[in-house]
C-alpha cells in the first residue's frame, strides 16, 4: 500500500488539539512505555529481590567487608606456575586437547576461602587451588577447587542466604546464633554439608592437601557421548597432620619454601559418575566405589606474589572449559561464572594495596614479611 504524503497534515498537526492526534500520541506513549517497562523488568530494576551478581557480592561483603582491589572471595592468595602433563588416560573420556599425552603450561593460585585478604592462616580454614591450563590450541581449562568434601549450599540462593545468616554481628564480631540457628533448622542439607566440612581430615599445608571440583561437569568423548564427572588434585607429597603455625602467613610461607626446594606434584584423578549420581547438588557426595582415572600430573615449580604474578589479572571462571568438557546441570556453576566476572570487573577497576604475600616473601631468599 502506498500512502501518499498527506498534504493536510503539516508540521502544525503535532499540536495535540485534534482528538485523533491525541489518540495516536496516546498509542505511541503506550508502545514506548511497554517497551521500557519490559526492559526494566529484564534488567531486574523492578525486582529488588532477584538474586543478581550485585546481591551475591553484597552478601560476600556483608560477611567479610569491602577490600578494594582484592578478589571478593578467596581474597588471600598467591600465584604459582608450572605445567600439567597428561598421560593420555582420559583421552577416551573427553576430546579436550589437554588430555592428549603431553605438557601444557599452567598458571595457578593458592588461596584461603573468604573475602579477607589479610586474615591469619589457620589449619581449619578452607584452602583452594585454582588452575589455568593453557594448551597451544587455545582450548583453555580453568578451575577453582577446594579442600573440602562437599560444597555448603545446593543453589546460589541458598549460598547467598547462608552468607547473610552467618554474617558477623557488628558488636560481637561473631555470627549471630539468633540468625544462624533458624537458618540451619530450615536448611538441614546446609547443616549436614557444613558438618562434613568440619569433620574433614586436615593436612599440614597447601602442598599435601587434596582439592576437589565439588561441582559436577560432563566429559564428552569422540562419539559425542557424555558422562558426569568430578575430579580431585591428589598430592604426591604424603599428607601429614597439621602442626601449629608460625605467624599469620605460615601456610603460604611453607608453600613457598617447599616450592623453592623442589617442584610439588598432584595427580588429576577423575571420578566417573553414573546416571543415578546427583549432578545438580554439590552438597551430596557420590558413592565411594565410583571408578577413577588418573589423567596426569600437575607439577608446580615457582611461586609469585599476587602483586606481580600472572594469576591476578584473570579470573578462574569454572565455565572456561575446553571443547570436550561441559557444565552439568549444577546450578552453582553459572552462578559462579556470573559472580566471578563481576568480582573481576570490580577489583580490576580498583587500586590494589600490597598483598599479604609480598614479592619479597615469595622470592627464593624471602622470609616472613
Amino acid at each position: 500500500m502506498v500512502e501518499p504524503p498527506d498534504e493536510r497534515r503539516t508540521r502544525t498537526s503535532l499540536l495535540p488539539t485534534d482528538p485523533t492526534v491525541m489518540k495516536h500520541l496516546g498509542f505511541i506513549g503506550i508502545v514506548l512505555a511497554l517497551l521500557c517497562s519490559t526492559f526494566a523488568w529484564s534488567a531486574g530494576w523492578l525486582s529488588p529481590h532477584r538474586l543478581t551478581q550485585t546481591s551475591m557480592l553484597d552478601a560476600l561483603r556483608a560477611v567479610d567487608g569491602l577490600h578494594p582491589g582484592f578478589r571478593r572471595n578467596h581474597a588471600k592468595g598467591m600465584c604459582v606456575t608450572g605445567w600439567f602433563e597428561s598421560n593420555g588416560n582420559a583421552a577416551d573420556l573427553s576430546t579436550a586437547s589437554v588430555f592428549r599425552p603431553g605438557r601444557v603450561p599452567v598458571v595457578g593460585r593458592f588461596a584461603l576461602a573468604g573475602g579477607m585478604p589479610f586474615q591469619a592462616d589457620a589449619p581449619a580454614k578452607v584452602r583452594s587451588m585454582a588452575l589455568r591450563l593453557m594448551p597451544p590450541d587455545g582450548q583453555e581449562w580453568r578451575m577453582g577447587i577446594n579442600n573440602i568434601p562437599v560444597f555448603v549450599a545446593r543453589t546460589p540462593q541458598e549460598f547467598h542466604d547462608l552468607l547473610l545468616a552467618t554474617r558477623p554481628n557488628p558488636v560481637t564480631g561473631k555470627p549471630d546464633p539468633a540468625r544462624v540457628q533458624p537458618f540451619m533448622a530450615a536448611h538441614p542439607d546446609v547443616a549436614r554439608a557444613i558438618g562434613l566440612v568440619g569433620k574433614r581430615p586436615l593436612t599440614s599445608g597447601f602442598a599435601d592437601d587434596t582439592y576437589l571440583s565439588l561441582d559436577t561437569f560432563r566429559f564428552v568423548n569422540t562419539n559425542g557421548t557424555s558422562i558426569p564427572v568430578r575430579w580431585a588434585m591428589v598430592p604426591v607429597t604424603p599428607p601429614s597432620a597439621p602442626s601449629p603455625g608460625n605467624g599469620p602467613n605460615y601456610l603460604f610461607e611453607n608453600l613457598i619454601t617447599a616450592l623453592h626446594q623442589a617442584p610439588l606434584q598432584w595427580h588429576l584423578i577423575i571420578t566417573k559418575g553414573e546416571a543415578t549420581d546427583p549432578t545438580a547438588d554439590p552438597t551430596l557426595n557420590w558413592p565411594a566405589d565410583r571408578p577413577q582415572v588418573d589423567a596426569g600430573t600437575l607439577t608446580l615449580t615457582s611461586a609469585e606474589s599476587e602483586d606481580n604474578g600472572a594469576c591476578t589479572g584473570i579470573t578462574y571462571d569454572p565455565m572456561v572449559l575446553p571443547t570436550g568438557i561441559t557444565a552439568s546441570d549444577d546450578p552453582i556453576l553459572p552462578a559462579r561464572s556470573a559472580a566471578y566476572m563481576s568480582s573481576f570487573v570490580r577489583r580490576s577497576g580498583e587500586t590494589k594495596p600490597p598483598s599479604a604475600i609480598s614479592p619479597a616473601t615469595a622470592s627464593p631468599n624471602g622470609g616472613p614479611s
Binding site: P5, L32, L51, M319, P334, A338
Partner: protein
Amino acid sequence: MSAIVRFSVFARMLHWLMAAMILTMLFIGVFMAATEGTAYNTLLAFHRPTGLIILALAIIRLGNRFFVPPPPLPASLPRIQRMAALGSHILLYGLMIAMPLVGWGMLSAGAYPIVFWGSIHLPPILPHNPALFALLRHAHTWFGLTFFAVIVIHLGAALLHALILRDGVFPAMASWRTGQRDED
C-alpha cells in the same frame, strides 16, 4: 510531492532483521548481567555470536548505504527534526559497531577465551589488561543503555511519522513493496 522513495529492499531487510537482533541483544544483555540463574551461560553463549553477527551486518549495511543512498527526508520536515534524525542515525550506526567491538575487546582485555560458537574461537583484539577490561565492561553497560534510549526515541519518532505526520518517512522503511519508487 508525487513520489514515495523507499529504502532498497536489501536495506529494509537488514534494518528489520537487525532491529530484532539488537533489541533481543539488549534485553538478553541486561538480563544476564543481573542474574545468578541457570540461564546465564546459555544466554552468554548466544549473546557473543549474535553480537558479532550484528557487527558484520552493520558493516555490510553501512557499505550498502554508501552505494545505495537512502531516500531523502521530506522537505516539509523542520531543520531541527532533520538534525535530530541525522544525529540519532549516526549514533545508532556508531553503537551497532561499537557495542560488539567493546564486547569483543573487553573479553580480550580480560584474557577470556573469545568463544564464537562451540570450539570456534576468535583471536583477541586487544592486549591483556585488567584495568582496560574493567573500563570496557562499564562502557558496554553505558553504551548499551544509551543504545536502548536512542532506539526508544527512534521508534517514537518513526511512529510519529507513521501515525501523525504521515509524511512518507515511515513507509520508506516499513513497506513490503519490492520497488524503491512509486510514481503517482
